[in-house]
Symmetry: C2
């Protein structure tokens, strides 16, 4: 019998938040002695899984602990399993922090999307976690920068192929906010006129009678995403066997 090659399994959560203008990510400072690593030691929120929980429950546990909320978009991203991803001092720190004996740590990354608001910001501040502009993230502990890049790349793809953007926006939003979100995630500038034309052609945006207040520019109208109509149409198209990779 040899259990020595049973790895520890953790979850790490890439929690994206959108404040109406920039895409942010939630980072925590590692609870570690300064000698371990001189660099500022920020990481993604995460945890080893418990014996009686599945991975999704573990990810929700981390998410709720850090943000105070639970019923939000959460999706498995990828498993990171390089045998060398946690070694030396890093592995030592983990063994002591979790009080486990382990040769190796495999992590399952999840990503989550939320609309930032005052309550969430209050909660995260109490947890000493920080919302950082994704464009400004330089170094992260372990392989967490790699995990973040993978999450961004997946989110970009989702943004193109599914209406996931609306998970990050308040229920009522302006076209400018929607465009900022696309630009923030895709990391590009999008032609304003083209974007508006495409998004209105979708037929899934319902105009409200409300406009922005107290803005210097011409107040923009608020819209609502018609999710029900979208999902109905997708089901219809799939029944017809539609193919869209070549469009």
């Amino acid at each position: 019998m040899d259990s020595s090659f049973n790895p520890s399994v953790s979850v790490d959560c890439v929690i994206f938040g959108f404040d109406g203008s920039a895409l942010k990510i939630l980072l925590v400072e590692r609870d570690t002695e300064k000698e371990v690593d001189a660099a500022p030691d920020h990481k993604l929120p995460g945890s080893l899984i418990r014996q009686d929980e599945d991975l999704r429950s573990a990810a929700y546990r981390v998410l709720e602990e850090m943000t105070g909320i639970r019923n939000i978009f959460l999706k498995q991203l990828h498993v990171f399993s390089d045998p060398e991803r946690v070694v030396g001092n890093e592995l030592q720190w983990l063994k002591e922090y979790y009080k486990v004996e382990t040769p190796r740590v495999i992590t399952v990354a999840y990503y989550s999307l939320l609309k930032l608001n005052k309550n969430i910001e209050l909660h995260t501040r109490r947890k000493q976690a920080i919302w950082t502009d994704v464009q400004h993230v330089r170094h992260l502990a372990l392989d967490h920068k790699k995990i973040l890049m993978e999450a961004l790349s997946t989110l970009s793809r989702e943004l193109i192929y599914s209406p996931v953007a609306f998970e990050l926006l308040p229920r009522k939003f302006t076209i400018r906010q929607l465009q900022s979100l696309y630009e923030g995630i895709l990391g590009i500038e999008i032609d304003n006129r083209n974007f508006r034309k495409k998004i209105f052609a979708s037929g899934y945006l319902t105009p409200t009678s409300e406009y922005e207040m107290n803005v210097a520019h011409k107040p923009a109208r608020y819209y609502i995403f018609n999710k029900t109509a979208y999902e109905k149409e997708i089901r219809r198209k799939i029944r017809q066997g539609f193919i869209r990779w070549h469009e």
Copy 2:
């Protein structure tokens, strides 16, 4: 110190093969005493991971062992981590087979796409693995039926949003083969005329001067997928910030 909640980690491979008319999946018979389970005990090919390998290497190891080939489409599907997924006799069998002590097994599923040919079929027969029509799979050991359903659902989505179908087809294929593949995976009948129209409109199919031989019906022309042109166009579109979920 308590290592007891370190789970074992395995990979399980959903290996899809297309023979020109039906979508098949590779199954193995479990090496088990008949008392353990009276039902025919087929499962997905898989393995516990080794201490020095990452998950992808483990999946490639299984794939190569079972099919004799290596350089084919392989993608991480999902992690299955229900604490109750392997218990009782099933867990006992696993402990004895792998000679490990373990409270629980988490598996990372991969899926792979290949074009069936004589060499592969010879190899799999030697391994006593069987190619089964996906439509005919009833019961599988453990939660492998659930893994298969998840793989089919992911493959359906990929089929719609990416040109993944060509991984399952020989380099030269007929439109009929392409359509059979779509119908086999999506589990629907597709209108022939509509399909041809859509697929030709893509501009990514290059006609060859070759036709089917020895067929009862009018010989169909062979086509080649122009992958380079497709990838170039996608990169161009992404730079333009295109959105296609609403199209």
